[in-house]
Symmetry: C2
Subunit: 256 residues, 2 copies
């Protein structure tokens, strides 16, 4: 399994991916699922992948070959818009899947990708590329995308991820969402790859967060402590306490 997420903020883009792969519980590996391409001075791409590892590796190899040998074919360097890059990557992805699906005798050859970044002066964005080769963008109401094991960590993103959060806050939300997922599903795990893109800069900051890092332990500890204290501060729902709940509502809840 895998968990990758990307956020689009007014300030820029945030990407976070785990690195755990498994083919059965007795065959667990560490592979990066987040890859950076800067094929020209004014195009930056981050590609995240979830799904069949052989498929995603061949897709990456084909993308790199297309860049290595410029010619009469598309590549990440020839895209003038982010959606053109997404369609190109989608075509490569679909081709690789079709090439191997039949021989897999029912095992799943598919993969799903998130492609984010900026091409020239077009606004930075994040797109989810389906195994069929088409794509969707994140919306302004839900300015994030997830692939892989998406359910455990969605709650936090829905509650807190808005266009106007700053990058520091977005990173906290992203890592907390990742920790919730890794805690619930052993097929998602550290190290984690973080990438930050400030819009219109074509400069990317990347960071690997290791399993035994003090900082990860600190965030996990702080998060758990604050969550418990938040729960403690909520008004009580016990039938006997309902009169106090009414008081709490009058004092705390905005009208409307």
């Amino acid at each position: 399994m895998t968990y990758c997420l990307a956020m689009r903020l007014h300030e820029g883009l945030v990407f976070l991916a785990d690195t755990r792969t498994n083919a059965g519980v007795d065959n667990v590996g560490i592979y990066s699922k987040q890859h950076v391409f800067q094929p020209t001075t004014n195009s930056t791409f981050v590609l995240q992948s979830a799904g069949n590892l052989a498929t995603t590796q061949e897709v990456l190899d084909r993308l790199r070959r297309d860049l290595d040998r410029p010619g009469d074919h598309d590549s990440l360097a020839t895209a003038s818009y982010l959606f053109e890059a997404a369609l190109y990557v989608g075509t490569v992805l679909r081709t690789v899947i079709e090439e191997h699906q039949q021989a897999l005798h029912g095992a799943d050859a598919t993969a799903t990708l998130i492609l984010g970044g900026q091409v020239g002066q077009e606004a930075a964005d994040i797109l989810l590329v389906y195994p069929e080769g088409n794509y969707i963008r994140a919306s302004d109401d839900m300015p994030f995308l997830q692939i892989g094991e998406t359910k455990y960590g969605k709650f936090l993103l829905e509650m807190a991820a808005t266009l106007d959060v700053d990058t520091a806050t977005a990173v906290k939300i992203a890592i907390s969402s990742m920790l919730s997922t890794a805690r619930a599903n052993v097929a998602v795990g550290p190290p984690y790859d973080l990438a930050l893109y400030s819009r219109d800069t074509h400069a990317l900051e990347t960071q690997r967060i290791d399993a035994d890092s003090q900082s990860l332990r600190a965030l996990s500890y702080a998060w758990e402590r604050m969550l418990r204290s938040s729960v403690a501060q909520l008004p009580s729902f016990l039938p006997a306490d309902l009169p106090q709940l009414d008081e709490w509502i009058v004092e705390n809840l905005p009208a409307g």
Copy 2:
């Protein structure tokens, strides 16, 4: 879809279930998925159900008929232990599934149940009954069970649900877990049925929480506000802020 959860605490048991059913998005209904049986003066059962609605309704009808017509057969009244009641309910469940599965031409006739309560002086407990008729108990390390759409709300349970939380706190956790799930999946929704059992009392307190209740709105509002403030208080993970993170660790993180 459905979301039901049950918790086993030192103080007693907490049950919470949504009421939304759907056969396609154009066929949505409200059915209680949480049912109380008190067949003798010293046995109390709460039964939660997720899965095929026809199956769960026939199971309930059969359980009630077995109680109505005492005789040479098992019923909830004849169980001397909670696990006997779970096996009896499991047998009824498996029978109903087998009766209809073939005619459904591939549609899923199965259902999964949570049976909680207390029989006589045996400790109160919660058991998950599989469609195959067998069961598991909640563990002391994870003293909760979930059925239906379990992933979105698991995070909160894992973080905060321990044997020693009091009932008021457990109810806050349960409702928050339900709200996270309903927010992410429209197939889970209010009203919500809450049941509280204080151990060794054989007295059950039940409460229906309506969609438009002020109290539900209050909890949802408080929860969102506190979550955002928790995120704001977390230490920053931005590469530029890592020196401050080190300070934060020295000041806040317990040794070890």
